[in-house]
């Protein structure tokens, strides 16, 4: 990891450690928008890592974004930070300016279609999108849709009809209805960005968040096992606990590697293979990891009082958002089958 990225990692870790407290997480779960946290994150330049410096961004890479999004996952940051990073990247690639304030991206489900239709000199959106992350809190929505035979990126102001909903971690997952809503701006997506970009890069972002969540679980469960005493000694001195935590360590390492690999591929260009592989691998790790972390913590980890659940409930939702392991495994398996058995190894080693 280069030095700048190490510094970036230190900055985000310090910031989230100081500001994303248990109180803040609880108030976010009651539906309060953490305005001060957002402002600090934005002022520290963490929301636009992939936007050029001349456009007010950090002029960085997906590798930098990985550091920020993974840390956000580790700290269960209750903000549409990953969504803003992806949304501003989509805008920037289409030559559009990213507005300040929180962004979200839509549609978040493959079965939802939002249509972008030319209307006079501008464009209008229609259709509905369910489970949009922070759909009601975000100031703007970035939509990618096929229009006139090519993928287009559109920026819409908040104002679409919003029906509130939430995921297991009580993060907003709202339904947005666009009824011929005018857009702020629209332009053809950057080369190589497909019409399914929200789905694809949404999955990429969740992979990093889940990898971060697992980092937390491993550290937290290992620490708890050295502190909690039963039968006169720390429970971590029992081999059965050690073996379980070693399994958690393996999944955590695999999740971090799979996600990092997908972000590296995103910097190279065509990342569909690596993103699919990452979402499959981290999703599987999330299930096993949450289970081991809870088992290690015993009853206290099952309470709302203990902070463990802020992360495990997120992992249970995040692994299903933007496609679960099954969806991505089918997609990946079909692509592998299409290339044929003999192409597998050359393909793997060429990436």
């Amino acid at each position: 990891m280069n030095e700048l990225r190490t510094i970036l990692g230190d900055v985000v870790t310090r910031l989230f450690t100081d500001l994303v407290t248990k109180d803040l997480l609880e108030s976010a779960e009651r539906g309060e928008w953490p305005a001060a946290l957002w402002q600090t994150v934005e002022e520290n330049g963490l929301t636009l890592p992939l936007v050029a410096e001349s456009k007010g961004g950090a002029g960085g890479t997906w590798g930098d974004a990985f550091v920020v999004i993974r840390a956000a996952g580790r700290h269960a940051v209750p903000l549409p930070l990953a969504e803003t990073i992806v949304g501003s990247w989509l805008l920037s690639g289409a030559g559009l300016d990213a507005p300040s304030g929180p962004l979200t991206i839509a549609p978040a489900r493959r079965e939802d279609t939002v249509r972008l239709v030319r209307a006079g000199a501008g464009w209008r959106l229609s259709g509905s999108a369910a489970r949009v992350p922070w759909g009601g809190a975000a100031h703007h929505v970035v939509v990618v849709a096929e229009a006139e035979g090519r993928p287009m990126v559109a920026l819409a102001a908040r104002g679409a009809a919003v029906t509130r909903d939430q995921n297991l971690a009580r993060e907003p997952r709202d339904r947005l209805v666009f009824d011929g809503s005018p857009v702020v701006a629209a332009a053809p997506a950057a080369r190589g960005v497909p019409a399914s970009a929200v789905w694809l890069y949404g999955a990429l972002a969740r992979s990093a968040q889940i990898a971060g969540g697992l980092d937390y679980l491993l550290r937290q469960a290992s620490q708890y096992a050295t502190e909690r005493r039963q039968f006169g000694k720390p429970i971590g001195s029992f081999q059965v606990i050690q073996q379980n935590l070693a399994v958690l360590a393996g999944h955590t390492a695999a999740a971090g590697t799979a996600a990092a690999n997908a972000f590296r591929a995103a910097d190279r260009g065509d990342a569909a293979f690596e993103i699919a592989a990452a979402k499959v691998r981290v999703g599987e790790a999330a299930g096993v990891g949450a289970s081991i972390a809870h088992q290690t913590h015993g009853a206290i980890g099952f309470t709302y009082e203990h902070a463990l659940q802020f992360v495990t409930r997120r992992l249970w939702s995040w692994r299903a958002e933007f496609g679960g392991e099954g969806d991505w495994a089918v997609e990946l398996g079909r692509a592998v089958a299409e290339r044929g058995a003999d192409a597998l190894w050359p393909h793997l080693t060429a990436r």
């Binding site: 050690q242 073996q243 070693a246 293979f273 599987e284």
Partner: protein
Amino acid sequence: MQTFRFELGELPPAAEALRAEVREFLRRELGDTPPVLRAHSWGGFDRAFSRKMGARGWIAMTWPKRYGGHERSALERYVVLEEMLAAGAPVSAHWIADRQSGPLLLRFGTEAQREKFLPAIARGELSFAIGMSEPDSGSDLASLRTRAERVAGGYRVNGTKVWTSNAHLADYMIATFRTHHDPARKHEGLTQFLVDTKLPGITMSPIIDLAGSHHFNMVVFEDAFVPEDMRVGEDGAGWKQVTTELAFERSGPERYLSSFALLLELIRAVSKDPGERAAATVGRLVAHLTTLRQMSLSVALMLEAGENPNLEAAVVKDVGTTFEQEVPEVVHALLGIEPTIDSGSDLQQVLGFLMQRAPSFSLRGGTREILRGIIARGLGLR
């Protein structure tokens, strides 16, 4: 708690250029070798093949030239290895010496030992076995009891080694014996030796594995005389040498590619018309495989950079062997075809072979339980 580091790295262009050369060589050498033979992976023993590898300069790649090595990078060696394993090449006649015995001699051997053995290993002419386990010493390696007593000019050895893979085919064995006995300090008093497998006083008998194959041996030493100049390293330094040897060899591609031949046959069988279930199964396995390759490469890059990724290596082996063992199970769950020995389709035969081979994946080179103990120590639990 120690932090795990799996940082991605890129293979240098020289390594990638080598890859094409290796592939072409393998295409010609292996031709239409049937899948069930390729599934033997690093179990295949073929001296002629090893000599060709030596002639190509693909053994001893990282060793100094003065010992017959080629002074290439560990990453170039990694590429050769992963290509060999992915193709199912019979590497076992030179593999152990290239991976363990040669590097051991380079690090701890005498100048005379290096000059005598290393160039022959590099040419693919000298095959090695590893004599560690004993009837009462498996995971608890420090408890081993085979005695090497000092006598005039060398050592007299008495005891028994078991599970010694390919000892009946190998020219030499790197064996660990007890030279001093103090029950309170069992990690001390172990010493490593270069043992000529044809020495008087050595009797070998096959141990047949569950599938009926002979690769394991029991090696009995009865007053076998090992000359002083065949001792490797200091008298009593064996434990440190053995653990170094093991730690550096747990993260290679051999720890996640053992079932690769089965994945290929699975894809071949379902690729014409993969239903959703088959596609999901293949996709999931490929997601695991590609992640493991990146983890393994990451450790290789750390080794090349002179770091000491013991913990990461243990993680790769644990996660990798779990994957290797899962492949036959997943194929069975998906297709329900009968595994066979030498009848039926290629897929059935490869499934039959690997189903029977899979239990060994998490035993060889340190059991799963031992590795997880190492990982737990890294987590600060012990």
